[in-house]
């Protein structure tokens, strides 16, 4: 779960990381008031969960409250990479003398968190990592011992931080590490961390991603999810514990298991078709979940055929079959469906569907080819 910049900054502030004075606003008149409070020179920052906000004109430096209001009006009307801007963060303008990157992320290859630091902050850190890997300091953190002081000093040394700032730098990283652990983050990042004209460190931008699996122990953080950043269909799917991601094709997919769902999309592609979505109904899907999934698939009007591929382990084929019947009766589905049910309670599931009018197939390849040809308007 990605947090917005202002949410991430609020978390960092709780851990003693210095952030600019600022407030969140939803209207340009609020922005003007905040800019007046902050003394006039402010940065108006669109709050959307995509990169490249600056390039898209979603971050503007205003010299006066009036200018701030004007910029806010423009930004609050924007869409950035398809996402509408509904909120802006108004931060006091900070004069920057140097920029750094610091972040803590999960490193799946080394199976532990890694502290990443660079003297080349502010720029696209991924580009730096590719072109000048020696400019990126990587320090792995023992997850039982935690981040040690010497490691934070090594980071300071590695990015050539002036010695006078080591102490406050270490406090920043300590806060970042504590935030990362306490919030079950998979990423906690400050880019850029700057030295301002008073020679203090300030976190100008902030990004936190929370591990979705950990939300059971962070009821407070769960509320921070920004629904605006997701497709409405994705939000609807999440309510039912279903993972849905919209794709560009015209074959609606419903599969159990992420790996099988990907393989199903891949095989459609192999036979000349294209999936309209990734949809994993998860393990042990109930008939209600199945029906809801079908509804979500059908909300995409490009869908020309539906491919249901269920291999029952925890999931029972009879439950899935019931759900399909339920939904096709309710929704009076006219779009052709290819249904493949294998595994736990396979016989019972196929029995339920036998009387209804679904195209069935034994092999995955046959089923995929059928779905592709149906999408192309051929009769089954």
């Amino acid at each position: 779960m990605k947090l917005q910049e202002y949410q991430s900054k609020q978390i960092f502030a709780r851990y003693g990381i210095p952030i600019p004075k600022g407030r969140i606003a939803g209207t340009s008149s609020e922005v003007k008031l905040i800019a007046e409070e902050l003394g006039g020179r402010v940065v108006v920052k669109s709050q959307v969960l995509v990169g490249g906000r600056g390039k898209a004109g979603g971050i503007r430096l205003a010299k006066t409250p009036e200018e701030a209001q004007e910029f806010a009006t423009a930004i609050l009307g924007m869409e950035i990479k398809g996402l509408p801007v509904r909120k802006v963060l108004v931060d006091e303008a900070v004069s920057i003398t140097k920029e750094f990157y610091i972040g803590i992320v999960n490193d799946r290859v080394h199976q532990m968190p890694v502290l990443i630091a660079s003297g080349a902050g502010g720029m696209d850190i991924e580009e730096v990592a590719q072109k000048n890997p020696e400019k990126i300091i990587r320090i792995h953190i023992d997850p039982l011992l935690g981040l040690c002081d010497f490691q934070m000093r090594n980071a300071a040394i590695g990015i050539d931080l002036p010695r006078g700032l080591w102490k406050s730098f270490i406090e920043v990283i300590k806060g970042l590490w504590k935030a990362y652990v306490d919030c079950d983050a998979t990423l906690a990042e400050i880019n850029p961390l700057v030295i301002n004209s008073e020679n203090h460190l300030v976190a100008l931008d902030a990004k936190v991603i929370i591990d979705d699996n950990s939300l059971f122990r962070h009821s407070d953080l769960g509320d921070l999810r920004d629904m605006d950043s997701d497709e409405p269909a994705e939000i609807e799917a999440r309510k039912f514990g279903v993972t849905f991601i919209k794709m560009n094709g015209n074959i609606g997919c419903m599969v159990n298991g992420a790996g099988l769902a990907m393989a199903t999309m891949d095989i459609l592609n192999l036979f000349g078709g294209e999936a309209a979505n990734f949809l994993d109904i998860g393990g042990g899907a109930t008939s209600e979940k199945v029906a809801a999934s079908l509804k979500i698939i059908l909300s995409d009007h490009k869908v020309k055929s539906i491919f249901i591929n269920i291999f029952g382990g925890i999931t029972r084929c009879d439950e899935v079959a019931k759900g399909i019947l339920l939904a096709s009766n309710d929704l009076k589905i006219k779009i052709p469906m290819v249904v493949r049910l294998i595994g736990t309670n396979q016989a019972e599931g196929q029995q339920i569907l036998q009387n209804a009018n679904f195209t069935s197939a034994d092999t995955l390849a046959q089923a995929a080819q059928l779905a592709v040809s149906l999408a192309k308007g051929k009769k089954s």
Partner: protein, 287 residues
């Protein structure tokens, strides 16, 4: 023979009184898995599966009373790390963790804790182990495969079943099938299992099912080209997955340039491994 688990493996089920634990214990029991005990704190003294399997309050007491030498975990995600620690503390050599949704930081701590311990962990978020005709530890359906000479290793769940089913349709049996799970931080990985299959007399060839994300397939390719003499057939899911989109699977995030299906397939083929275009093609690529 087989690897990891066989008919004499004495299995303990952690979380046996929960819905999933009970359902799958029944399934395993029907497969004639040698379930010797269940653990469910606060329910010690009860009996489940028609009064045949005793329930204990703690892993330690279950192991003391029954000599269990493997455990399968069905407890909810929030209790999963503790269940693993409890199994490790009781020196159980094999722990299979079916639970999905375990927080990543929990698993990082578990992995660090496991260094130099005797216990081997499979999972979490995995379908477990099936040694056809001998034992089933986890949730892989038993009727979609039969004993044979193909060793199967997979990062996926239901995709593994698809492959087992395709092998069965082609009349190919399996020595042992292991679903290692799709989470970014997990127990045993491809390389360790490749080593075991290479050493296993029953296994003549190996099927490896990977997916986008991480670098395990790349590490496996290197290992195979150096140390594995038995033929390996691979399949990688996610060729059409958009980069950076989360696929409801912590394992399916693409990191940097690495980890795309295309990269993995290239690396595997460069190491002389045959890569199937779709799951049902796998049997035809076997030796």
């Amino acid at each position: 023979m087989s690897i990891l688990a066989h008919k004499n493996t004495k299995l303990l089920v952690q979380g046996i009184t929960g819905n999933e634990g009970l359902f799958h214990s029944q399934q395993m029991f029907q497969y004639k898995t040698n379930i010797v005990a269940g653990v469910s704190p606060g329910k010690g003294g009860e009996w489940v599966l028609d009064g045949k399997i005793p329930v204990f309050d703690s892993v330690r007491s279950a192991v003391e009373m029954t000599g269990a030498d493997a455990s399968v975990i069905f407890v909810p995600a929030r209790y999963c790390a503790d269940a693993i620690y409890e199994a490790v503390d009781a020196d159980i050599p094999l722990v299979v963790c079916i639970t999905e949704g375990v927080p990543v930081q929990d698993m990082m701590r578990v992995k660090r804790f496991l260094a130099h311990k005797k216990t081997r962990i499979i999972g979490p978020n995995c379908p477990g182990i099936l040694t056809p005709g001998e034992t089933k530890i986890g949730i892989i359906p038993g009727n979609i495969t039969f004993p044979g000479n193909v060793g199967v290793i997979s990062r996926s769940g239901t995709l593994t079943y698809e492959v087992l089913y395709a092998l069965k349709q082609a009349d190919r049996g399996v020595s042992t099938c292991i679903g290692i799970g799709g989470d970014p931080i997990k127990g045993v990985g491809f390389v360790e299992l490749l080593e075991m299959f290479e050493a296993d007399a029953q296994t003549d060839q190996i099927v490896m099912i990977g997916e986008i994300g991480g670098n395990e397939e790349e590490a496996a390719a290197e290992y195979i080209s150096r140390y594995v003499t038995k033929p390996v057939v691979a399949f990688i899911a996610g060729v059409t997955a958009p980069p950076g989109k989360r696929m409801g699977h912590a394992g399916a995030i693409i990191e940097g340039k690495e980890g795309t299906a295309q990269e993995k397939i290239k690396t595997l083929e460069a190491s002389g491994i045959r890569v199937a275009q779709h799951p049902e093609q796998i049997p035809s690529l076997l030796a």
